[in-house]
Amino acid sequence: MAALEIHNVSKDFGSERVLKDVSISIDSGEFLILVGPSGCGKSTLMNAIAGLEPVTSGNIYIDGEDVTWRPPADRDIAMVFQSYALYPSMTVRQNISFGLEMRKVPKPEREAAVERVADLLQITPLLERKPSQLSGGQRQRVAMGRALAREPKVYLFDEPLSNLDAKLRVDMRTEIKKLHQRLGTTIVYVTHDQVEAMTLADCIAVMRDGHILQLGSPDEVYNNPVDMFVAGFMGSPSMNFISAMLERDGDDYAVRIATPNEEDLCLPWPTARVTDAMTEQLGKPVILGLRPEHFSEEDERLSAQAEGTLLHASVTVVEPTGADILLRLPLGEQEVTARVGPKCAVSPGERLALRVDMARAILFNAETEKRLA
């Protein structure tokens, strides 16, 4: 049975509809991430699940029970807030046990729960401190501890890492992942950080303007995006979008990229990946989507069996990141980013031979921005 089911939920603020017919269902133990730019409705959806905002229409089921009109306290959920929202006048211990106290759990059990959670999150030495005496990372742990103490059916995380510095954010991300693997909890997690989404999720819902554009595993969302928005939102550096024309020669399809002052670049499209949608767009403008890692520098020793199409371009910017090098180079009328190995010795202005892995390239309709193939 689904641990959480959202059924055709819509939400209006005044005359504006911020959630439009949203439906999601996740199983017990699944990690769902709602991701999208600011104002896409992800936090509103989170508040609707929590019961902090009433929905305009639709239903929400937790563990099979319709909780649409139940107050937050009766939904068996716990939430970790962006600002942590620790009660300032209470010690860490009181913060963690407050929810249990409100539910009239006897004192010995409360104490046991606090010990268990403090042990799990390694915050035992902090139990008698006030929130104002804690660092950002410690507050974050306490906020999670408060959620974990009650052992609810569903955990809600509202951008929990966005107030931490970069290093701590990566550490806490790993920690959340470990906790999830260890406890097998059902988690709904809101973030605008696509790296968090990719690394943590079992299932990602990419949202925009109150719609869910795509719901799928990180792999699906990354490698098989439904449209240009999803493709561009997931991945860093983001996908390159190149204006092109779709052509056909017999059974062979090709993507022609108009290049100023040079001969047009023609990239053959793998025959196995031809779709029906493509045939309708023949001779029309399309958008070719290539991720930076779909490029690789040409290695002459391997060129005999190397796959992909060869192209030459002069590099404009070289950005070494340590683990690899990001190159900016012109392709057609745009400038694109390519990710190559750290040993690639190239300086700005030089011409470089690159292979493009067309087997992983993605084709979009230039007008609707929907995926063609």
Binding site: A50, L52, P71, P72, A73, I77, A78, M79, F81, Q82, S83, A85, Y87, P88, S89, M90, F98, G99, M102, R103, R146
Partner: protein, 292 residues
């Protein structure tokens, strides 16, 4: 300004000296009325008629204070202002407590449990801060009559509570607006209700604004004269009204020393409150602007 780096030239020292001299003179000037009152209140009548305002008392005596407290005539009765002093407390304390409590609840509801029109309600309450006292004298007298509490202490408490709510609501609303709503959301998820959240989460962090509200209300209500004179009987008068009657009683010799002693007695509680809690007052007024 010890942390301003400046070379100690002669000119700088001279100008610093000038600044301090002016400030000290100004301070003395403002303290003078208080000094005169204090001195006069401990002089026998003979010294007052013989000397000037600024002559130091030759034979200081507390007789004017005891007379002002227990024997001086206020209108037809001659039992001092002592009884009225306690009257004032009996009116001020409940009025301050009730208006602060209601203001806190109003501020909490208006910021953390917003409802349709809550901004309008707040704007209307704010309007209450600007209503002149005189405007409500007659309708209030009528209302107190209907309620059967005219000329009673309870009536005066009610009047002051009604008038005070506008200010206390303003104080608490502006304070609570700075407290993150996520705290209330977290408490709701934890299972706490309206009053529990107020009591356990909001109230423990409200000390600065409670102090502001209490000092403000205490001073306002203690110093009130108009309501006191309009809605009291001879046995429920606050001390301000009694002081007025004492000074204006026109029989016999005018006893300036007793007048001054009575005025000091009437002013003392607000002075004490401000001296004890004044620094919290300033701190509390600015508390909203600093992240807690």
């Amino acid at each position: 300004m010890a942390n301003v780096i400046r070379r100690q030239t002669l000119a700088a020292r001279v100008s610093r000296l000038a600044v301090y001299s002016v400030l000290i003179l100004a301070a003395l000037f403002y303290l003078l009325p208080l000094a005169v009152m204090l001195m006069t209140s401990v002089k026998p009548l003979s010294e007052i008629s013989a000397g000037t305002l600024l002559t130091l008392p030759q034979n200081p005596t507390l007789a004017p204070w005891t007379k002002a407290w227990g024997e001086a005539c206020t209108g037809m009765r001659c039992d001092g202002v002592g009884g009225y002093f306690w009257n004032s407390f009996a009116i001020v304390i409940p009025a301050v407590l009730i208006s602060t409590t209601i203001g806190a609840l109003n501020g909490y509801a208006l910021t953390k449990w917003r409802f349709k029109g809550s901004e309008l309600v707040f704007a209307l309450m704010l309007f209450g801060c600007f209503i002149p006292f005189q405007v409500v004298l007659l309708p209030m007298a009528q209302t107190l009559g209907w309620l059967g509490i005219s000329s009673s202490r309870a009536g005066l408490v009610l009047v002051h509570v009604v008038f005070g709510i506008a200010f206390t609501t303003l104080f608490f609303r502006n304070f609570y607006v700075g407290i993150p709503n996520e705290l209330v959301s977290a408490a709701k998820l934890d299972g706490a209700g309206f009053f529990r959240i107020f009591w356990r989460i909001l109230l423990p962090v409200s000390t600065p604004i409670i102090v502001v509200s209490v000092i403000w209300q205490f001073t306002q209500i203690w110093n009130d004269f108009l309501f006191g004179v309009a809605f009291s009987a001879h046995n429920t008068q606050p001390v301000t009204v009694a002081l007025n009657n004492l000074v204006n009683t026109s029989t016999g010799v005018r006893e300036y020393n007793v007048d001054m002693a009575a005025a000091m007695i009437a002013a003392l509680p607000t002075l004490v409150v401000y001296v004890l809690a004044g620094k919290y007052f300033v701190r509390g007024l600015t508390a909203g602007s600093v992240k807690g």
